[in-house]
């Protein structure tokens, strides 16, 4: 259904408005939310915490955004985080640092390629293809760690998530870097447009000579790589690999971040800046709940309600009527 262009609202408007609303709420009701200090060469405060903890979701969300833009979804990122964390932790005490990093990222890339091949070669639905790794992945991670929680004391590896660079925690820089790279690659070249084209109508794409198989394979591999980076950060942060709980529910957060950011679930449209805002919003919401004594166990309840609200607002049917309403007034 063709829509008049002027009637569509700017995509970043909703997530930014929600984030602003949440910050206003905290400004009024959460004492000390905005206090930021400069201590030992780094910034310390709730806001910095939020930035730091949202970076993991943000990194995975960048990969997820591109996958969703092709009309797919990757349910296995949580399990891949567990695998990569397990790889890094197992090597932590005995291999040189570059080997650890390369092995963890390699594992992520391999997992992503695996998903991509299932989708492109076997032509499985993305939900099914990535479900396989979602089920088997934690088993693989357990196998690597032999069912134990592996702890390590490797200063260089621990530094990745626990040290600061230019006053901000390193994961924040990694997230910004990956997002900037992905944004530059997709928007400065034709890649972004082609990804959206595949998500919009893959058959038309194939007929017009786009190698959609390779493109899809690429985005799943990239998503796996992003999960690998997140796995490295997670295991560095807790100084251990926990195959059961590492990256648990991360796929949900990443999908949620992408959708909040205005990436269409059916594919065909994406916004990396939006996904970053989405990741920030999720973490800010979580932090706000913790600061208001909502227990970590109950927290999924309001989060789930928020997901539903956002999804309903983004639903095509609601969106058209909202846009018509906004267009009618303009």
């Amino acid at each position: 259904m063709p829509e008049p262009r002027r009637a569509s609202l700017p995509p970043l408007l909703w997530p930014l408005a929600a984030l602003a609303l949440l910050l206003c709420f905290n400004f009024l009701f959460t004492p000390g939310f905005f206090s930021v200090e400069f201590r030992d060469g780094r910034l310390v405060g709730t806001l910095i915490d939020i930035l730091n903890h949202s970076s993991k979701v943000a990194i995975v969300a960048v990969g997820m955004t591109l996958v969703i833009a092709t009309g797919g979804v990757d349910l296995s990122v949580g399990a891949v985080v567990a695998i990569c964390g397990a790889v890094a932790a197992t090597l932590a005490q005995r291999a040189p640092m570059p080997v650890i990093v390369l092995a963890a990222l390699g594992a992520g890339l391999a997992a992503g390629l695996c998903n991509g091949l299932l989708v492109t070669r076997l032509r499985l639905q993305p939900i099914v293809a990535t479900l396989v790794l979602m089920v088997a992945g934690r088993g693989v991670a357990q196998l690597i760690t032999d069912g134990l929680i592996i702890t390590f004391e490797r200063p260089a590896l621990v530094a990745v998530a626990n040290r600061s660079l230019l006053a901000l925690p390193i994961p924040v820089w990694i997230a910004v870097g990956i997002a900037a790279l992905a944004a530059a690659f997709t928007r400065r070249t034709a890649a972004g447009m082609l990804i959206e084209a595949v998500g919009d109508n893959d058959r038309a794409c194939r007929y017009s000579g786009v190698n959609e198989s390779r493109l899809r394979l690429g985005v799943y591999a990239f998503c796996g790589l992003c999960a690998g980076v997140a796995g490295l950060i997670e295991c560095s942060y807790i100084k251990a690999a926990d195959a059961n709980n590492a990256g648990l529910f991360l796929e949900l957060d990443a999908i949620l971040a992408a959708i909040i950011g205005g990436t269409a679930l059916a594919g065909g449209r994406f916004s990396i800046a939006g996904s970053l805002t989405g990741a920030l919003l999720i973490q800010a919401l979580t932090k706000t709940m913790y600061m208001h004594d909502v227990s970590a166990d109950v927290a999924p309840l309001p989060k789930g309600l928020a997901v539903l609200a956002v999804c309903i607002l983004q639903a095509p049917r609601v969106k058209t009527s909202l846009a018509r309403w906004a267009g009618g007034r303009a």
């Binding site: 032509r123 790794l133 979602m134 934690r138 088993g139 196998l143 309600l305 539903l308 999804c311």
Partner: protein, 322 residues
């Protein structure tokens, strides 16, 4: 779509033969494997998964998916325990109430999916969050059930003692519940209008709509049935554990979906059966039993084997439904 009747039943046959094969292999390798006790435990330990898989079969047959199963089970289990232990409800009343709550939850998910045309996996993902958080809101820790009715009547007196083996084999009520659920679902799917509508909607939604079938009602029923089954599975789980636990059954929906797929149901919808799903549950249980019998195998091999089985079955089905 070209599809011979033979090819249609092939995955089911493969599953049945796999179940037999794995059992025979286990019996040959491990001396005490082929015993009534092992078979009984297989049924008792997997009863709740079987009930959950029944609900998942309905949803998947209709071409959708429900990711909230495990959380709804946990919610039901802790709700039951709290109602019985802290609010003095009679267990039967509590069970009825909990099952109705589960059905209402499923219906609500279906309504949202319908009304806003949202993908099922997304709405049920949110449902998974909500039910899990809700479970912890009801009671933050696991809670043992000491009500005499549950221990004496539901778990002891209503057990069936089969006169086989040296001491007889006790089949507890929860296995009967699972078998009844499977039988009822099989009847609904094979002999009722609703059952045929589920297959039709899953096979070709537009075709079903053009034929004048009520797609809306079918979808709503399917999600309600899945909610009811999840809640019933939660009840069975609670009887099995004799306690309610808000942290229980994490990721159980994946096991249920895996069982459904291994049982020969097409994840795209339209083809499959409850019988197949039950065989799938049995196969998962057998693999788990073998891993336990082997002793030196890391129990996580189960997950890896299940992942590969799912992959193999999905690939097999693609080959035979084209």
């Amino acid at each position: 779509m070209k599809r011979t009747p033979h090819a249609r039943h092939l995955p089911l046959l493969v599953t049945a033969s796999l179940v037999l094969l794995v059992f025979i292999a286990g019996a040959l390798v491990y001396p005490r494997f082929a015993s009534f006790g092992v078979v009984r435990n297989l049924m008792v330990d997997n009863a709740f998964l079987a009930v959950a898989a029944v609900g998942a079969t309905f949803v998947i047959l209709s071409g959708a998916i429900d990711l909230s199963i495990g959380s709804v089970m946990a919610f039901t289990s802790i709700l039951l325990a709290t109602l019985i232990e802290q609010h003095g409800w009679h267990p039967l009343a509590a069970i009825a109430f909990a099952v109705i709550v589960g059905g209402a939850f499923g219906l609500a998910q279906g309504l949202i999916i319908q009304a806003f045309e949202l993908p099922a996996f997304l709405v049920t993902l949110a449902g998974m969050f909500i039910a899990r958080g809700g479970a912890f809101l009801v009671h933050p820790q696991s809670l043992g059930i000491k009500h005499p009715f549950v221990a004496d009547v539901l778990n002891e007196r209503l057990s069936l003692v089969l006169p086989v083996g040296p001491h007889g084999v006790t089949i507890p009520l929860l296995v009967d519940i699972a078998l009844l659920a499977i039988a009822a679902a099989a009847v609904v799917l094979s002999f009722t209008r609703l059952g045929r509508n589920v297959y039709a909607v899953g096979d070709h939604e537009q075709g079903a709509m053009l034929m004048g079938l009520n797609i809306r009602a079918t979808r709503l029923s399917v999600f309600t049935i899945s909610g009811l089954c999840s809640a019933l599975a939660g009840v069975v789980f609670t009887l099995y554990q004799q306690s309610g636990d808000p942290a229980a059954c994490k990721g159980l929906e994946l096991d249920a979906i895996a069982a459904v797929v291994i049982g020969g149901t097409l994840l795209r919808g339209g083809i499959g059966s409850v019988l197949g799903s039950s065989l799938g549950v049995l196969l998962l249980g057998l693999i788990q039993t073998i891993v336990t019998f082997q002793g030196n195998l890391n129990s996580w091999w189960t997950k890896i084997v299940v992942g590969f089985l799912v992959l193999a079955f999905v690939a097999l089905q693609r080959r035979f439904t084209r």
